[in-house]
């Protein structure tokens, strides 16, 4: 080892005085990112706990559950009356309760997505200049025309929002009550390409490894951040470096994973140990879902536009 620099052997007088000044700095983006990462892991653990509960949907075979939910999703996509959709949405709430999922938590989880995914699309459709019709909430006049929210626009927006809410509720029900490996096996059984299922499985697995890496990188950076600095170029540079380092680590990890798979005989074909057979309850569920889907679509058509 070469010689230790002299300055390293001397006692540092300290660049900053050690003591409180009274000036506080609130947690910034770093703390928020760390909280976000921890939240992802907490949610995954919570989902696995729900999937292990002895509820109605948890008892069903994943393949039957997937097919049933798929049928109801198609129905939700084709229904054109809000109150029929509302009925279907109410059914998801009943299923959630029967599957021992806290209703408040379930509703919150679903409705958290709605404004994000549909708000931007739906908002303009409510106005008279996008969806002409009977103005029920006038907002003023523009170039001689009355501008406001139309009944037709509000109906369309309500239809889209309730369709999205019902669809998301169904998907959340499926994913909450089915463990990830069983869901992947079900996808495979329903002829989803092997490679896609394998990629999905590994993406989920390594999400947690990379979350750990990101969390460690952020913590290491925090440990070496002496004086608080406001965002700006410096922060962007650090974010860029961190992203690059993470990409490099992910690449090295993917190469080693491939080698680990090859070492155990992998030749592009994945096999599963899953041998679950369908039971009467699965058949009943599937028949009920298919009947309900057909009934709601048929009833909706019978009601006309």
């Amino acid at each position: 080892m070469s010689e230790t620099p002299v300055w390293l052997l001397e006692r540092e007088p300290g660049a900053f005085p050690f003591g409180c000044s009274g000036k506080r700095r609130r947690g910034g983006a770093i703390e928020k990112t760390l909280d976000g990462l921890a939240k992802v892991v907490r949610q995954a653990i919570a989902s696995e706990e729900i999937a292990a509960r002895p509820g109605l949907l948890q008892r069903l075979d994943a393949r039957a559950k997937l097919l049933g939910v798929l049928a109801l999703l198609i129905a939700a996509g084709l229904i054109r009356h809000i109150f029929v959709l509302a009925g279907l949405y109410a059914l998801t709430l009943v299923l959630a309760a029967a599957s021992r999922i806290g209703l408040r938590w379930f509703v919150k989880r679903v409705w958290l997505f709605i404004p994000l995914f549909t708000g931007v699309i739906v908002a303009p459709a409510m106005f008279s200049f996008v969806t002409p019709g009977e103005v029920v909430l006038p907002l003023g006049r523009w170039f001689g025309h009355e501008v406001g929210l139309t009944r037709q626009g509000l109906t369309s927006a309500g239809l889209i929002v309730s369709r999205v809410a019902t669809s998301i509720s169904l998907v959340v029900l499926l994913t909450l009550t089915t463990s990830w490996p069983r869901l992947l096996s079900a996808l495979r059984a329903l002829l989803v390409p092997r490679l896609l299922v394998l990629v999905l499985g590994m993406a989920y697995r390594y999400l947690f490894v990379l979350l750990d890496v990101v969390s460690e990188m952020i913590t290491a950076r925090t440990a070496r951040t002496v004086a608080g600095r406001k965002g700006g170029r410096g922060a962007r540079v650090v974010a860029g470096f961190s992203g690059g380092a993470l990409f490099g680590k992910a690449h090295a990890l993917s190469e080693e994973i491939h080698q680990a798979m090859l070492a155990r005989g992998y030749r592009g074909e994945t096999r599963s140990l899953e041998r679950a057979s369908l039971r009467i309850a699965d058949g009943v569920w599937l028949a009920a879902c298919l009947s309900l889907a057909l009934l709601t679509i048929g009833g909706d058509r019978a009601l006309g536009l």
Binding site: R205, V209, L253, R264, L273
Partner: protein, 281 residues
């Protein structure tokens, strides 16, 4: 123990990205049932050599024979050869996160036997036996991210043992393990060796070497073979260990007198005497 060589490597050289030398002219022979320790400092090429022995990367120069057949990229393209080779060779990676890639422990342990095309009942029986042996039955439905480093190492080993390979390759098996897990793993390796498995493992730790290895191959920091011999011979050769950076010259003061002796890497000093080889602590 049979004297018939199971592995023969002649003059293996390997460079990463054709620029960074990792191995230079390394030859070795491993007899059936032998336990060979690959010794060397960090970055000397131990992992690279193990990956070549596992048929995961291929030497730029030199040849490698396993079970009487030459192993190269072209031959491993052959379905039957690949299946035959992979079923006989098990590799426990240093990075368990790379090795434990399935969504649950059960699927992880079943991955190898499924690839070998074993019957589901046989696979279930093997999973049950191996998880009982490694005391991980209660982890079977868990996701890998819920496991500690020691538990992940057990799962990684279980995933290889269910394939029942003839040759086991361990890359730094005890790295990052707590003392109890480390002791457990060394005992397991001894037991597997006593059962007739051929074991090649990379390490730079010297304590307990004599109890887990029959022979040692020392790699230099220049990525060349420095020596081959039984553990007692290798451990007694202080100059060799210093050259390979497996021990370092430790200098300290006894009263007015400066005193130097060899000191094992990564271990604390124990004042067992003024001279001679230090005991690891």
């Amino acid at each position: 123990m049979s004297s018939e060589p199971l592995l023969i490597a002649n003059g293996l050289s390997y460079s990463y990205l054709e620029r960074f030398l990792a191995l230079e002219e390394v030859s070795l022979e491993v007899a059936r049932g032998q336990r060979l320790a690959l010794l060397g400092a960090n970055g000397c090429g131990k992992s690279t050599l193990l990956k070549i022995l596992a048929g995961l990367i291929f030497a730029d120069r030199g040849s490698y024979f396993a079970f009487g057949e030459e192993v190269n990229a072209e031959k491993l393209e052959d379905e039957q050869f690949s299946a035959g080779f992979r079923s006989r060779v098990g590799f426990v990676f240093q990075n368990t996160d790379a090795q434990v890639f399935s969504p649950t422990v059960r699927e992880e342990i079943a991955f190898g036997p499924l690839q070998l095309g074993l019957e589901p009942d046989e696979i279930e029986a093997r999973i049950s036996d191996v998880t009982a042996m490694l005391e991980i039955e209660d982890l079977i439905e868990r996701a890998p991210y819920q496991l500690s480093a020691g538990q992940k190492k057990r799962v990684a080993i279980a995933s290889v043992l269910t394939m029942n390979p003839e040759l086991l390759l361990f890359d730094e098996p005890t790295a990052g393990l707590d003392p109890r897990s480390r002791h457990w793993l060394l005992e397991l390796m001894t037991e597997l060796g006593d059962a007739g498995k051929t074991i090649v493992f990379a390490t730079h730790e010297l304590d307990q070497l004599e109890s887990i290895a029959d022979r040692c191959l020392v790699l230099s920091e220049q990525h060349r073979r420095l020596a081959v011999g039984v553990p007692a011979e290798i451990l007694a050769d202080r100059e060799l260990l210093l050259t390979a950076n497996l021990v370092h010259e430790h200098t300290h003061r006894h009263g007015e007198r400066l005193h130097s002796h060899a000191h094992e890497r990564g271990h604390h000093h124990r004042y067992s005497g003024e001279h001679g080889f230090p005991s690891a602590g």
